[in-house]
Structure formats: C-alpha cells, structure tokens
C-alpha cells in the first residue's frame, strides 16, 4: 500500500513537473496566438474603424464580400503559386545541395557555413538589396546577363512587369530560404546507418538505387516536416513579397497576406482583413492535416 501510494505520488509529481515546464509555453501560446486569434475571429463579424476601433456588427457581410471578391480569389491563386513554386524549388535545391554537402569533399565545412548566409540576412535587407540588383537601369543582374555572359540583349524588367514580378520574388525567396531545407536534410542525412549502404553495395546496388531505396525513404519523414513548415511559412509570408514589389505591378504580387495588409491599412477595413485571415487559417489547417497524415504514413513505412 505504501509502495503504491509512493508510486502514485511520484507519478503525480512527474505530471506536475511536466505541466510546470510546459506552462510558460502554454501561457505564451494563449497570449500570443489563441487570444489574438479569437479577437480576429470576433472582428471578422464586425465593421471595425481603424482609428477609433469602434465596432459595428455586420454578421456575415465580410465573409460574403470575401467569397464574392475576385480580388481575394486572384490573391489566393497568387499565394498558391508563390507557396508551391517556392516550396518545390526549395525542396529540390535543398535536396541536391544537402547531398553534395554530405559527401566527403574538400572545403565541405566552409561550404556548409557559406550556404547558410542567405538565411541569416533579414528579409528587409534581402528585399531592398535584390530590388537594386534586379533593376534594369542600375542592377548588377542585368549587367551580368547582358554585358558579361551575353545571355540577353536587352535588360529584363523583373519587377516592373505583371507577368514576371511574381517570379522575381519567388527566385529571391528560393535564394533566401533554401538553406533551411539544406540544414534539415543534412541533419537527417547524418543519421542514416552506414551499414545499410554497405549491405546494399554488397548486393550490387548502384548510386541511383542507393538513393532511391535508402536515402530517399530515410529522408521522407523530414521532407514531410520541411514541406509542412515551409508551406505554412511561405503562405503566410509578407515582408519579402511586399517589400520587393509592394503588391504590384497591377496587383501581380498581391498575395493573401499582402491583401490583408492592404485591407487593414490602405482600405482601412480591419474587419475585412480579419475575415481574410480566417480564410487563411482554414486553408492552412487543411493542408497541415494532410501533411501530418502523410508524415505519419512515411514514418510507418520507414519503421516497417
């Protein structure tokens, strides 16, 4: 009996300790995420004056506006292009670079450090820097393409044309955020049991087969996590997109987060901005659930 009581007491103590450790994070989550979320949800049913914050209940008007708005659907399409193009290219490049940096090559350690450099630069600095670099009249990119490498004859107006502005922003996003993928994949690659490769080589597997049947399945769970995180982060991303092109030209870079900013601070409609953000939450929840299911499946397959 005494032993049982001691066991219960110890278990309770462990639980209290565990909750105590988690409590600061829970409090931060409530204050910084859950409370603002419910405030935004409430605002979405109101017309909110930007200056006075006076609220007038308007029911589902904001939601109906968003559903009927061509601007919202066009922004959503752009967000999907920005997100999935960025994620795909970052994934492919991240995979390639991490495989290269995993090899025993001279200067590997220095290269691993250098490859992180874009990720360390603040998005604001990167945006301003690339705006200058991509300028057709002043920028170094056009100079290199035309005068040094003779790849083009006329300067390319990356950010001034509606059909190319988004691609200019995507490429800068790829430059900036691919290192994140590289870090994740490199870390995972360090954990691949080498005896698997040795055994496969003995059985006559070539490099491609080693990659397809050992490396890739081992990386799949981390790829799923990386895809989930990058999808959420890119879909939400505001600063790089906005600072490079300010939502233009002709709204070509107005993604959903840029649209929220415009609704709140240019159109002075906080309620509408909150409503658009609710649509974002719904979209991201669906994609997060799908990614989580895919991740669980990949872990299951790996353990089998």
């Amino acid at each position: 009996m005494a032993a049982a009581n001691f066991k219960i007491g110890k278990r309770l103590e462990e639980r209290i300790f565990a909750w105590g450790m988690a409590l600061p994070a829970i409090i931060a989550l409530i204050i910084l995420s859950i409370y603002p979320f419910f405030t935004a949800l409430q605002s979405s049913f109101y017309k909110v004056d930007t200056i006075t914050r006076e609220q007038t209940f308007i029911g589902l008007d904001n939601y109906l506006w968003v559903i009927q708005s061509d601007l919202f659907w066009a922004s959503l399409k752009r967000s999907l292009v920005w997100t999935f193009s960025g994620v795909s290219i970052q994934l492919l490049l991240g995979l390639v670079f991490s495989l290269v940096l995993h090899q025993e090559l001279k200067g590997r350690n220095a290269a691993r450090g250098l490859v992180l450099f874009p990720y360390l630069i603040p998005a604001v600095v990167a945006a301003i820097m690339w705006r200058f670099m991509l300028s057709p009249t002043l920028g170094v990119i056009n100079y290199l393409l035309i005068d040094v490498f003779n790849l083009m004859k006329t300067p390319f107006t990356w950010l001034a044309r509606p059909d190319t502005a988004m691609w200019g922003v995507i490429l800068v996003g790829v430059w900036k955020y691919t290192p994140f993928m590289i870090i994740l994949f490199l870390g995972r690659l360090q954990t691949v049991p080498t005896e698997l490769y040795e055994a496969a080589k003995i059985d006559g597997a070539n490099s491609l087969q080693l990659f397809l049947y050992i490396t890739l399945p081992w990386l799949t769970p981390i790829i799923m996590v990386a895809l989930m995180l990058r999808t959420i982060w890119l879909f939400n991303h505001f600063d790089l997109v906005y600072l490079m092109a300010f939502g233009g030209p002709m709204e070509a870079t107005t993604t959903v987060p840029v649209l929220i900013h415009r609704a709140a601070f240019s159109d002075l409609r906080i309620g509408r901005a909150a409503t658009i953000s609710m649509f974002m939450v719904a979209i991201l929840m669906v994609s997060t659930i799908l990614y989580t299911l895919a991740y669980s499946k990949s872990e299951e397959q790996l353990s089998n």
Binding site: S43, D49, I51, A165, P249, L268
Partner: protein, 501 residues
Amino acid sequence: MFITLLLAFSFVLQACAPAEPVEVIKTVEVEVVKTVEVEKEVEVEKEVPVEVEVEVMVTPTPMSVPEGTKKVIQWMTTERDPQSVEIFQQIVDEYQELNPDVLIDIILIASATQHERLTTARAVGADMSVIGLLPEFLTAYVDADFLVPLDDVVDELGRDNFKQGSILSLDGHDYAIGYAGDTHGTLWVRRDLFEEAGLEYPTTYEELLAAAEALTKDTDGDGEIDIYGIGLPTSADSSTGIRYITSLYQNCADFYDKQGNVIFDNPNALKSLERYVELAQYSPPDSPAWSWFDGITAYTAGRIAMHPYAGRLGYNLWRDKPELREVTDVIWWPMGDEKAARGGYDFISLYSGTKWPEEAKDFLKFYLSGDRLARFDATVPGHLIPPTKELEDAILAMDDEYIKLYSEDIKTLFDAAQFNSQPELYMGAIDPETCEFDPEYNPMPWAGSLLGPWIPAQMIEKVVVGGESAEDALAWAVGEMERVAEEWKAENPDWEPPISE
C-alpha cells in the same frame, strides 16, 4: 496524433492571426472653461437657475509622479536623415538641460507606415506624446479624439507668423502645426545634357515633352538606351500619385469641388492623365516598380536627365556626387499652363492620450521657436521648407556650405512652394471652368479612403502597365471617387460642406 494536430493548429494560429489590439477605455476629465449660473428672483415660490451654454475643451488629465522621476515625452518622427536626427538630439538636449525633470524619447518611424504605426500604438495603449500627422486623416483623428487642441501653442508662437496652410484647424481649433513643407512643382535637370543637346530649359509642357524625347539617348551605339529623358514613377503608390496631382492642378482640374462633388470626369482631368502617361514613355522601363528613392538613385547614377522631386534630390546629390550636382539645376516643372503644384507641410501634433500634456506643449513651443526649427529645416536645405518667411530668410543667411553654393536653387524651391495645394486639405482648390486656383482650407473628410489606396496612382498604373485606355482608366477612377465619397457621406449624413456654393 491529437497532440500533433494541436501543435499544428497552434502553429498555424501563430502564423495567421493578425495582432488585434486590446481596446483601451480611457476616462477623460472634462475641464469646463466657463459656467454661468443666474439666479433670478421671481414672483413664484421656487428659484429658476439659468444655464448658459459654454465652450468645453477636452484636455487630457496630467499625471503626477513621485519626486525625482522623469516625465517621459515620446517624440515620434518620420525625419530619419542622420543630420536631422543629430539636430533633434541637440534640441532635445537643450530642452532637457532647461527642464531636468523631463526626458524626451525620440522614436524614428517610417513615413510610409506612419498611419498604421499610430493607430496600432493607440490600439495597444502605447505611450505617445508628440506625433506626426498625415493631413488626410485629420478629420478622422479629430472625430476619434486622437489629438489635443493646440490653439494656445499657436497663439504663443504668433498666429500671424505662419504661412497659409501651415496650421491645420478643424471646428475652430488648431490641431497640427507645420514644421517643414515641400513642393512637387519643381524639376531637377542636367544642365550639361541640355547644353550638349542645344536645348533651353522647358517652360511649357510641349517643350518638356520635346526635351524628354531629345534627351533619351543611346550614348554608346549598342542599340540600348543609356540615358532616359525623364524619370517619372508609374507605380500605384504615393510617389506617383503626388506627382500626378501636380499635373492635375496645372491642367486645370481637381478631384472634387469645394462642396465635395466629383469633378474629375472632365476633359482637363483626362488631359492631365494623358500628359503624365505621354511623358512617362521616356522613363526607364522599371518605373512601374519605382517608389520615392528610386528616382534619386537613377538620377545620381546618371541614368535620367530630368526628375521631378522636392529639394532633397539636390542635397543628396551634393552629398553623394558633387560633380553631378554642379551640372544640375532646379526649375519649375511645366506640366500645364496653371501655376500650381502639389505640396504642403509635414505636421506635428499632440496625442490626446499623452501623460504629460503641458510638458509636451511646452516642448512643442520650444522646438518651433527661436532658431531651433530653422536649424532643423536647414538640415536638408530646400527640401524642408519652413512655415514662416522669417525662417526662410534665416536659412538663406546661414553659414552652411550647401546653402552658400546653391542659395538660388533653394530660393527657387521656396518660391515654388507659394503655389502649393493638396487635395486632402484644400478640396476644390481649382475651378475647372474658370481655372481659378484658390486653395481655401477645406479638408476632404474621406481623403484617407481616396489616398490610402492611392486611387489616382492606380489609374495611371492601369494605363501604363495594364494597357487600358486613358478614358477607361479615368472612368474607373471617377467611379471609385464617387464610391468613397458616397460611402463616407452615408455614414455621416449630418455632414455639410463647410464652404457653400
């Protein structure tokens, strides 16, 4: 699985939820200025008190603090040039030496995000005292009791000293004081390129267009244009919109008349748009992506021969490329026949939630008096146009290298500012029938909705980038102008235009 989903949900929440402020309810004590009660003896059993209606001024209640604690006054400013900040710090040090119980905290903010910064700060209850004011939001801020009346400050500084448009008033009270003006009626030109091409400085639009064409050149014979005749932004933001308003005024057009009716559907307005677009064809191909400093950068790099800008271009050029400044002049920008331009003041106000209203007012008086404002306005000579004639003369007399070298250019900039107007403060400044330019103080109450999204600049972008016809783009803009005005009037049915027909 559940925990994973919960974590994922939390992650998404954190990423998605816009920061929503806690509503701060503030009780303000009303100070009754004058109350008169009259008791009259009548042939009845009870006395009848008579109340006289009096004017009530709402002022914040000052705090009291323990002895030895400093009273902190936040000074939010968009003036971030290093030399301006240095002068600010000197002025602050001088004030603090005289008032050791006060601490002035200078907070630098970006002008592009000024409105969102102020509204967000108010919503979260952040401390603010001295703030900048965007004139298009004057009516909204006053309606929201955002500002402290500054009548006494203006009176002490000398009301008659201030130039027209340098004091913002509403409903009989002053709410903002201009500390530096600008003008967008001036054009910076490369004298050497004009001389090389055998051209005179343009005094009409036709001459300007011809000069822009003539100065757009392939200088090295490779088939590519190396220098463009003019740098004119065509992006959907303020850098385009403000330049366009100069074209609008000079071609005898305006957005609304003095009573707030749309008058933009007008042949003169169409001409102003067509001229702007026509001139923009001689601009660099990335001008649809330009914001404010891209033009200065292109001019400094020698890629454009002309650029409309206020005084800052000349000063920055002198600082960064003095040899180019030597061959640069500033002239009146002839977009049309009327002598008018978009320009106005940057304003300073007092936030109604300040903890130290009297100290903040005292600091305002200190900053705006003596040689202090002159010292600040001289940090970018010609760009920061002072609100009084005396300050203009004081700046021109200063022992400053740039001012001595380019005093004529600075005078040109000061003179151009006489023809300033801005639609958000002088609704109906120009009569399209008579072309009379008469900027009468008449704040546009819905200016935030018109100029927040910069509808006029979007109109230009539709033509230049979207390939729409000028007529279609103008028709769209007219529709938007009618919509924003009607929406505001529907929410404020008691509003009557302060200036009757």
